[in-house]
Amino acid sequence: MRRFLLRRLLALVPVLLGVTFLSFLLLYVVPGDPVQAVAGERYDEAVLAELRAELHLDDPLPLRYGRFLADLVRGDLGVSYVSREPVRDAIATTFPHTLRLALAAMLIAVLLGVGLGVAAALKPGSPLDRSAMVLASAGISVPVFWLGMVLIYAFSLKLRWLPPSGYGEGSLRHLILPALTLGAASAALIARMTRAALLDAMGQDYIRTARAKGLHPARVLLVHGLRNALLPVVTVVGNDFGSYLSGSVLTERIFAWPGLGRYTLDAVAKRDLPAIQGAILVMALAFVLVNLLVDLSYAWIDPRTRREGS
């Protein structure tokens, strides 16, 4: 396990370098002069030159990348062109909101997905199974942002059960629709995987043994079958959770959710490059780290995956 851990951490180094370099490059390749963006409307050549020197924009690329990395290690993500405040502070206030939404979405996805999957696997080919799987196929194909609007239309505007948007100072009522929107696609995938894995597990010898012992069918299904069917579900949960932290952009936009995704979009609209760079970097790092944790937990659950080349 230790060697596996070491190997995975070493493999992380080039990926981290790539991720930081791409984020860095974003500021570098942008057409136009970033100094003018900082200086705004009223500038003259002397001010521009001074700013350029202050921002080290005349230095060669590798040196600037090195400085970028050094700042990053110290937790310095630069200052927003628009608000003139450190990007780090803005991310520190918005990221917890995104995290909360992601956790809620995952909870809903697991409950709905495993529930539907088990219900479908109870009687393969039954009307219940068929409708659950049609629902799952639809859930994978429906665009996230459109699903969000349908939910708002149905539950906020027509039924008036839930608020259509906003954070609501952290109220649970405001969390339900965005979390359902964000989690629906994973729920659909989890339902399919749970059903397939459960049907597969139920054909194994140890299930026959458990049945032969005279155990209650529900106990055989839930304890002996489901437990062994959950491994693929863990992977889906891990993979999707990583993309929730960055992919909640659309959901946050629709529900006016004050998270990192909406912050990124605002920054894009205002061409606030340090803010875009910082937000993208943080989300990409979160994505990479969550994926690492998933790999590690997978290796921990199933030792066979630790081998080389897997």
């Binding site: 080039p14 990926v15 790539g18 991720v19 791409l22 984020s23 974003l26 390749v29 942008v30 057409p31 196929s137 639809a138 994978i140 194909s141 429906v142 665009p143 996230v144 942002f145 459109w146 609007m149 349908v150 708002i152 239309y153 505007l157 990583g242 993309s243 960055s246 992919g247 952009v249 659309l250 936009r253 629709i254 990124t264 979009l265 894009v268 609209a269 061409r271 875009i276 993208i280 989300m283 990409a284 994505f287 990479v288 994926n291």
Partner: protein, 285 residues
């Protein structure tokens, strides 16, 4: 591959997916002959009409016919999907063939590059690229295409790795075929089933990505109607004119469903090995 497709009429997913895709392609290609009028023509007198016989999908706040706009949007969405897929398949196939056939350092380099592309969350990378180069449709389809190479390259590489060990490749080498001929005439055709599956699945992903970015204002720019911009424009009227968002979104969901079903079905029919039913060598030659 013809043998596999003949089974298609018994495959539910193939029929449904194929019918959906065909319908959208026909509408996108021949939309101007449907007599729906100009998707850009405004008429304030008929603003925000609900769906009726004259305007099957209703009209928008400036009186444009939504049906005409949805049809024009279908053309745009499918075109962006098609172009970005061609770019992704071309780049990915090239990289996959080279990595799989030559192996060694080139393989290592290309696959690390693919890892790195995939280590970035896709939507975020697209937003970053569009933020850097400015929103436009050409930026979007190029970005979608260039960023889509990695999964294609991986799948193609693993297929070439297994094909390379087959006797007919050894025979080609023994006959003195050049590498280029082996790659293009012997290996590439054997990968065609896989490419069709990747194409269909990729279309679904590209349509969603185009719609998402256009919805965020980072893709098609007004007044060009794409499904994403239609949904974006209609969002503000969700209470008073829900058809403006619900109808384009439904079309998009159906198109994505169609390509997903078709992709799944093609995998079942053309490449049984990938569907879990093993064939002797794992591939159809």
């Amino acid at each position: 591959m013809g043998g596999g497709l003949r089974e298609g009429w018994r495959h539910g997913g193939f029929l449904v997916g194929g019918a959906l895709v065909l319908a959208f392609v026909v509408v996108a290609a021949g939309g101007q002959w449907l007599g729906l009028g100009d998707p850009l023509a405004t008429a304030p007198a008929r603003a925000l009409l609900p769906p009726s016989a004259a305007h099957p999908f209703g009209t928008d706040p400036v009186g444009r016919d939504l049906a005409a706009r949805v049809v024009a949007g279908a053309r745009l969405s499918l075109l962006v999907g098609l172009l970005s897929r061609l770019v992704a398949l071309a780049l990915g196939t090239g990289a996959g063939l080279l990595a799989g056939y030559f192996g060694g350092r080139l393989d290592g380099l290309l696959m690390r590059l693919a890892d790195m592309t995939l280590a970035f969350p896709a939507l975020l990378l697209l937003i970053a690229v569009v933020a850097a180069f400015g929103p436009s449709l050409s930026t979007l389809f190029l970005a979608l295409g260039v960023l889509g190479w990695a999964p294609v390259a991986r799948v193609l590489r693993s297929q070439v790795l297994s094909l390379r060990r087959q006797d007919y490749i050894d025979a080609a080498i023994a006959l003195g075929c050049r590498r280029r001929r082996i790659l293009l005439r012997h290996l590439l055709p054997a990968c065609s089933s896989t490419l069709w599956v990747l194409f269909s699945m990729g279309m679904a992903g590209a349509i969603i990505a185009e719609g998402s970015l256009s919805f965020l204002g980072l893709g098609a720019q007004p007044p060009q109607p794409s499904w994403g911009t239609l949904i974006r424009d209609g969002f503000g009227y969700l209470r008073t004119a829900p058809w403006l968002t619900l109808i384009p979104g439904l079309c998009m969901a159906l198109a994505v469903l169609g390509f997903n079903l078709l992709g799944d079905a093609l995998r079942d029919l053309l490449d049984p090995a990938a569907g879990g039913r093993p064939t002797p060598d794992g591939v159809e030659v």
